[in-house]
C-alpha cells in the first residue's frame, strides 16, 4: 500500500507532468465530454495527427486516458482515477496551509478592531 493511497509517488509525478502542458489539459477537458478519435481531437487544436498522437502517448502512459480496441478509430477515453488522485493530493496541500490563512483572518480582524477603537 502506497502512503496516503494516492496511487504512488511515481504515478503522481507522471500525472503532474502530463497535466503541465496546456494542449494535454485541453485534450482531457475535451474527453471529459465523451470519447473521441485522434482525428476528432486534432481538429480544434490545428495540430497534425502525429503531434496529437505524441500528446496522447504521454497521457496514456500517465494512465489519464485509455484507447479503445477498434483498430480503425482507437477512440480515446478519459480515465478519472489518476486525476482524482492528483486533485486529492492538491486538496491535502490546500488543507495543510489553510489553517495558517485562517489564523491570518483572525489576526487581520483583531488588528482592524484595534484600529477603530
Amino acid at each position: 500500500m502506497e502512503p496516503g493511497g494516492y496511487g504512488g509517488v511515481a504515478v503522481l509525478d507522471a500525472t503532474f507532468h502530463a497535466l503541465a502542458d496546456p494542449t494535454r489539459r485541453a485534450i482531457l477537458a475535451r474527453l471529459a465530454a465523451g470519447e473521441a478519435s485522434v482525428t476528432e481531437l486534432a481538429a480544434p487544436f490545428h495540430m497534425s495527427q502525429p503531434a496529437v498522437s505524441k500528446h496522447l502517448k504521454v497521457l496514456e502512459k500517465a494512465g489519464l486516458i485509455s484507447r479503445g480496441r477498434d483498430a480503425q478509430r482507437r477512440p480515446c477515453r478519459l480515465e478519472a482515477r489518476p486525476l482524482r488522485n492528483a486533485t486529492a493530493w492538491l486538496a491535502d496541500f490546500r488543507l495543510y496551509w489553510e489553517e495558517s490563512y485562517q489564523r491570518l483572518d483572525v489576526l487581520l480582524e483583531s488588528l482592524q478592531k484595534d484600529d477603530s477603537s
Binding site: Y6, D13, R25, A29, A80, T87, Y96, S100, L111
Partner: protein, 164 residues
C-alpha cells in the same frame, strides 16, 4: 474565501486567498515579524524566530517549531519590495532535499474592501515542486474527495488564459 491551489506549470504552485482587510494591512502581516509570528506556518508548525531586513537585497530568516519539537529554518533574500502591492523573495530550507533556490512572489490586490493574495512559488526544478507537494501526504493526511469537475474547470480556465 477558501484557499485555491493550482499547478499552472511543472515547476510552480500558486496559492490564492482573499482576506477582508485593506491591502496595506495584509502586506504588513506578510512583512512584519511581530505579525508573521502570529499566523505563519503550515499545519503543526509555528514560526518562533523571524528576522527580516525589509529592503531589496536584504536577508531574512524564519525558524519554525514542528509537531515533535523539530525545527525548520528557511532563509533567503528580498528580491523586490513594492509596498503594498508586491513582494518577491528567494527561499532555501536548511537541509533541503531538492536543489536550488525557490522564488516566491506575493501579489496583493485590494478590491471592494477585500485583498486577494496570489502567491506564486517557483521551484528551480520540477522535482523540487513535487517534493514539496508530497509534504502533506508524508504527514499522513488523507482526505479524498471527488474534485474532478473542479479540476477540469481550472484546467479549462488555465487553457483559455494561455490562448493568444
Amino acid at each position: 474565501m477558501s484557499l485555491r491551489v493550482t499547478t499552472p506549470t511543472d515547476r510552480e504552485i500558486v496559492l490564492t486567498r482573499s482576506f477582508i482587510a485593506p491591502g496595506q494591512l495584509v502586506f504588513d502581516a506578510y512583512t512584519q515579524p511581530e505579525l508573521l509570528t502570529r499566523w505563519y506556518g503550515a499545519r503543526g508548525w509555528k514560526l518562533v524566530g523571524c528576522d527580516i531586513e525589509l529592503r531589496e537585497g536584504g536577508r531574512y530568516r524564519f525558524e519554525s517549531l514542528g509537531p515533535h519539537g523539530d525545527t525548520m529554518v528557511q532563509t533567503g533574500t528580498v528580491r523586490q519590495i513594492q509596498a503594498p502591492l508586491r513582494l518577491m523573495l528567494t527561499e532555501v530550507f536548511e537541509g533541503q532535499s531538492y536543489p536550488g533556490e525557490t522564488l516566491i512572489t506575493h501579489e496583493f490586490s485590494e478590491h471592494g474592501g477585500q485583498t486577494t493574495v496570489t502567491s506564486t512559488i517557483s521551484y528551480a526544478t520540477p522535482e523540487g515542486r513535487d517534493a514539496v507537494l508530497r509534504y502533506p501526504m508524508a504527514r499522513g493526511m488523507g482526505e479524498s474527495g471527488d474534485r474532478l469537475v473542479e479540476l477540469l474547470t481550472d484546467m479549462l480556465a488555465n487553457h483559455r488564459k494561455e490562448l493568444p
